[in-house]
Every structure is written in structure tokens, then in C-alpha cells.
């Protein structure tokens, strides 16, 4: 078993735990924290797969995924700012 695959498995387990936080967060901002960390974990998984399988195109996919995750998190945070939705 290669170490890259073991790291990808551990990162998929951590992103699943972030998904548990997204489902069971008490407020909306807990769900947003879980979304931010899950996007970052999946970006790391894509980069590790690109280095392991020697595919150069996956790094562009990882960059686009990171940009989309950042824009979505900023947009949802700006949408929820100042709204009394948490109770």
C-alpha cells in the first residue's frame, strides 16, 4: 500500500467528519466552518491524486475547486451577516 493512498483515505475520513458537522451544526456558521474545511480537504485529496497518478491536469482541477469553494464560502458568509436566523 502506497503512502499517498493511505493519506487520501485518512483525508476522506476527515472530510466525512466535516460532513457530519455540516449536517448537525447548531447554527448556520457551524455548517459554514464545516464546508470550508471540507473544501480544503478535498483540494488536498485532488493534489495528492495528481502527484500519485502523474496527471498534470488534476492540478488545474484542484485550483478551480479551491477558487469555487472560496467564492461560495465568502458569498454565503456575506449573505448570512447580520441576519437573525440562528434561533
Amino acid at each position: 500500500m502506497n503512502w499517498f493512498l493511505i493519506m487520501a483515505y485518512i483525508l476522506s475520513v476527515t472530510s466525512f467528519l466535516c460532513l457530519v458537522r455540516i449536517v448537525s451544526g447548531p447554527t448556520h456558521f457551524d455548517r459554514l466552518i464545516g464546508l470550508n474545511l471540507m473544501v480544503t480537504n478535498i483540494t488536498v485529496i485532488i493534489v495528492i491524486m495528481a502527484v500519485h497518478y502523474n496527471y498534470l491536469v488534476y492540478l488545474d482541477v484542484a485550483l478551480v475547486y479551491a477558487i469555487l469553494g472560496y467564492v461560495s464560502v465568502i458569498a454565503i458568509a456575506k449573505y448570512l451577516t447580520g441576519r437573525e436566523l440562528h434561533r
Binding site: 485518512i10 493534489v47 495528481a50 464560502v73 447580520g82
Partner: protein, 99 residues
């Protein structure tokens, strides 16, 4: 040179695992932002530095460097936006119960 990359991989996996445990265990939004920020910058950048050392000077290392610089800039901005939104939305910070 592979040993240095393995040390960075182990450091990054340790950061991300402890960050996710902190997200699962901490009681509040503001306390959950702390391990989320540490796992989002420290662990990810450690893994990217390890991958850059592993792949040497090639097309891979330059693009991984680009993604690492992007995440280094944008992850604290996202954490700051979440914290400011939670504070302006009126969420009270958690306090310990002194029984």
C-alpha cells in the same frame, strides 16, 4: 530528501486530524473557528510543501506552489468573514458553567 517530505506529510496529517477532532468536540462557533483555521492553513501548507519536495523541480511543483499561495491568502479571509458574520448576527460567545 524523501525523509524530509515524509516528515512534512506526517506533520500535515497530524494538523488536519487534530483540527477535525477540534471541530467535532468544541462547543461554540468561535472556538470551532480556531482549529478550523489551523487545519486550513498549517496542515494543508505542510502537505503541499511535502509534495513540492517530493516532486522536485517540475511542472507539478510550480502549480502546487500556486495552489498553496492561493490557499495561504484565502483561508484566513474566509475564517475572518465567518467570524464577523457570526458576531454581527448576534451569536453569544460560549462561557464555562461554574457550578
Amino acid at each position: 530528501m524523501i525523509i524530509v517530505a515524509d516528515v512534512f506529510f506526517a506533520l500535515g496529517m497530524l494538523f488536519i486530524s487534530f483540527g477535525v477532532i477540534g471541530i467535532m468536540r468544541f462547543p461554540d462557533v468561535y472556538t470551532r473557528l480556531h482549529p478550523a483555521g489551523k487545519a486550513g492553513t498549517g496542515g494543508v501548507l505542510s502537505i503541499f510543501i511535502g509534495l513540492m519536495i517530493y516532486s522536485g523541480l517540475s511542472h507539478f511543483s510550480w502549480r502546487i506552489f500556486l495552489i498553496a499561495v492561493f490557499i495561504l491568502i484565502t483561508s484566513p479571509v474566509a475564517s475572518h468573514a465567518i467570524a464577523r458574520g457570526a458576531l454581527e448576527s448576534g451569536i453569544k460567545p460560549w462561557e464555562a458553567k461554574n457550578d
